[in-house]
């Protein structure tokens, strides 16, 4: 399991951080959903409560587990953005962790809020996905490729 960087862990503590999950169906159809309840567990794995077993996301997570596929997550806030590739590791349907996420859902959405399962995802690869970071990488690797020549950093003031 990949250890998440501190910046990403801090980002996951911020309730304003946006979290999305990308999965794919049996026929390859992609599915992207926003899942702001995604949280990090003390061992560094990610926990994702799912409301419905019948959701496309749940089906795709089951498929990923059965076929040993990976899922992708994006976690972002302001200029910060991270991309995580993770392996669905466990589907929790009862017990203390399940209860904790259910109670959180009910605290947020009211007493009728419900969840079907909590999926444990094990990160396997993490990438700093912010534009600034990617640009820095690109500049280091291909300083003359891609950038438009009229960018301020290139064009000299007129004589």
């Amino acid at each position: 399991m990949y250890d998440l960087p501190t910046e990403l862990l801090n980002l996951l503590q911020n309730p304003k951080t946006t979290r999305t999950l990308a999965t794919s169906a049996h026929d390859g159809t992609p599915d992207v959903v926003r899942r702001d309840a995604l949280a990090v567990l003390p061992d560094g794995s990610l926990a994702l409560p799912e409301e419905l077993d019948s959701s496309q996301t749940s089906k795709n997570l089951v498929l990923a587990m059965w076929q040993d596929r990976r899922v992708a997550l994006t976690i972002g806030n302001g200029n910060q953005a991270w991309h995580v590739v993770a392996r669905p590791w466990r589907c929790v349907v009862a017990g203390p962790l399940f209860k904790q996420f259910l109670l959180t859902a009910r605290a947020v959405d009211g007493p009728d809020a419900d969840i079907a399962a909590v999926w444990i995802l094990r990160p396997e690869a993490v990438r700093d996905d912010s534009v600034a970071s990617q640009r820095a990488v690109e500049l280091a690797q291909r300083p003359w490729a891609g950038a438009h020549m009229d960018c301020a950093r290139f064009v000299r003031d007129a004589d």
């Binding site: 587990m65 466990r90 017990g95 109670l103 009910r106």
Partner: protein
């Protein structure tokens, strides 16, 4: 001494026993049902003094004799000069022979009969390089005989010695080992059958073969998080101990697996516990990380009548199972289903509860238990009722229906809504009874189990159902129920594999599968969900010792059943992966 093995030989008239085994004819014959009384009496006469010395608690004593009750499978009757003087029960596996029971009548002890019989077992084991294993009560002087014969002590606990005679290379003529036909396991079958994932195959194989806990795993499940209550647990090398047992096993994909910690299976998987994790092994091969269903909060609490709530309802990951009537009247005249060990299980539970396990459960206790269970956030999303069959009443099963209505009404008092997620696994009721269940309770789904589809096999395997009121009646009941509960809200279960029990069952997997698919198609057309569950030849059932079909049978079965139901738009929501845990075919619906 002459020693020979004979098959079911007629018993000659009793003769006077000879003073020593060397001066008489010692024979073994296969036991039959007719030997039950002799063997059970023999067990009591030989073992009572040692059992009473070992346990003071009468329930422990009763349980010992229950567990060692006669079954013909693997049992031979020891005859000395034509007279029945003992019993020998063996369990064979590929690498050892387990001596489950060896008893010689007290009048014939001290003549070398037990030693001669054991030497024969040892000789058989050594011919093909197998070990011999047994366990004996510490107070039983037969221990000295075992040690004299070369058995070594593997382990001991407060009550038993665990002894083993190691395997040895064959010393007689060389034995050409014929490899056992390879029965592909879950990983191989997942590659051969891409429509059936490894987890589902593993679940079904676990159901077929069961699991043992290592001592470390047994210690770990004593944790309050896992403790499902006091039970008899099989662990280690197949030894039994009375400790807290875990609940259903959980695979990583959330699938629950019902395997009994207290039941003896064949070639079981093993669960070990290391670094805070439960690890599943098949022999030496690591299979996967697993978990056990957490203990629900209501366990350990008492109803206002002082009844432990876990004796009223047991918990699966998301389902409460309630058994309002813990007795099956099919057993009264020996009409129980031949694969069923329900009654022996109930006896064992009663023993564990020190007799505080009445046949009929008070509806008030049911009400209070459900009320308490619902206090745990998100723990339960369904209630299932089942009970032993009771054909009594003005109309067949009236008593049973009255009792189910009482129980369902007691449960219903907990809900604001008219209906609540519920399933009743009951007998085949008539239309008026079904109407009462629907109108007088909040029941949502009904399940009269057909068990076996083929008409002749149904009559042979399910004599109670055949008697009250026959296969057509049970089928009619399921179809009538669709009119009342609606399509997709009526289920029926088949004990898959039992139709291959011999001597009357199907001889090939293809015949058995064809029968299941015909049944599923018939029921699906009529709005009934036909589900399979894995047959286990339980000890205590008439089919104990029968051979189960290979795992590949179940792989093909669950895929076929799932495809048929899907074509008819049926989905077994009430028996899915987190509610029931018994059906590989409904687990496949997670992708639908």
């Amino acid at each position: 001494m002459t020693f020979q093995v004979v098959q079911n030989q007629q018993q000659p008239p009793p003769k006077q026993p000879q003073p020593d085994v060397r001066e008489g004819l010692l024979t073994l014959r296969d036991a039959t049902e007719a030997d039950a009384a002799f063997v059970d009496r023999l067990t009591r006469e030989t073992m009572t003094p040692y059992v009473q010395q070992t346990w003071q608690d009468p329930s422990e004593v009763a349980y010992y004799f229950l567990k060692n009750k006669f079954t013909p499978d693997g049992t031979r009757i020891v005859q000395f000069n034509g007279r029945d003087v003992g019993r020998l029960t063996l369990i064979h596996s590929h690498d050892e022979i387990f001596v489950d029971n060896i008893h010689v009548h007290p009048d014939f002890q001290g003549r070398g009969i037990g030693a001669a019989v054991l030497r024969q077992v040892i000789s058989e084991a050594r011919r093909d390089g197998r070990a011999v294993r047994l366990q004996c009560l510490r107070v039983n002087p037969a221990e000295h005989l075992y040690r004299r014969l070369g058995f070594l002590e593997l382990d001991r606990n407060a009550t038993h010695f665990f002894l083993r005679l190691p395997s040895r290379a064959p010393t007689r003529s060389p034995v050409i080992r014929v490899p056992r036909p390879h029965d592909p396991g879950p990983r191989e079958l997942a590659a051969l059958h891409p429509g059936v994932p490894f987890f589902i195959l593993l679940k079904m194989d676990l159901q077929r073969r069961g699991l043992l806990l290592t001592p470390a795993a047994l210690d770990a499940v004593q944790d309050p998080l896992y403790d499902y209550g006091r039970s008899y647990v099989i662990y280690g090398q197949g030894d039994q101990v009375r400790k807290n047992a875990p609940g259903p096993l959980l695979l990583r994909d959330g699938t629950s697996v019902l395997v009994l910690a207290g039941a003896q299976y064949n070639e079981s998987y093993t669960v070990d516990y290391r670094d805070g994790r439960f690890l599943l092994y098949d022999g030496d091969e690591f299979i996967d990380e697993v978990d056990f269903t957490p203990r629900p909060d209501y366990y350990g609490k008492l109803t206002s009548n002082g009844v432990p709530m876990e004796t009223i309802a047991t918990a699966r990951p998301q389902r409460l199972d309630i058994n309002p009537y813990r007795y099956c009247h099919f057993w009264d005249g020996g009409n129980q289903c031949r694969y069923c060990a329900y009654f022996t299980d109930v006896k064992a539970s009663s023993t564990l509860a020190n007799g505080k396990f009445p046949r009929q459960v008070d509806p008030q206790d049911i009400y209070e238990t459900v009320r308490e269970a619902l206090k745990e956030p998100g723990r339960f999303s369904q209630v299932m009722l089942t009970s032993g069959a009771d054909p009594r009443g003005e109309n067949t099963f009236d008593f049973e229906v009255d009792r189910q209505i009482e129980a369902l009404q007691a449960i219903g008092r907990n809900f604001k809504t008219r209906r609540f997620a519920s399933q009743l696994i009951g007998c085949g009721y008539d239309k008026a009874q079904l109407r009462r269940l629907h109108d007088e309770t909040g029941l949502t789904t009904y399940c009269p189990d057909i068990e076996v589809w083929d008409p002749k096999l149904f009559d042979w395997i399910c004599p109670g159902k055949a008697k009250w009121n026959g296969r057509d009646w049970w089928i009619r009941s399921a179809l009538d129920a669709v009119d009342i509960f609606g399509p997709g809200n009526v289920y029926t279960n088949a004990v898959a594999g039992v139709e291959m029990a011999q001597p009357h069952g199907f001889k090939t997997v293809d015949e058995a599968l064809a029968s299941h698919f015909e049944a599923c198609e018939f029921f699906a057309k009529n709005g009934v969900i036909y589900l399979s569950l894995v047959w286990i030849p339980w000890r205590g059932s008439q089919f104990h010792g029968q051979k189960q079909p290979p795992l590949e049978f179940y792989a093909r079965l669950v895929k076929g059943l799932h495809d048929i139901r899907k074509a008819y738009g049926l989905k077994a929501n009430n028996d899915d992966y987190r509610h029931c845990g018994n059906h590989g075919d409904s687990d496949l619906e997670r992708l639908d």
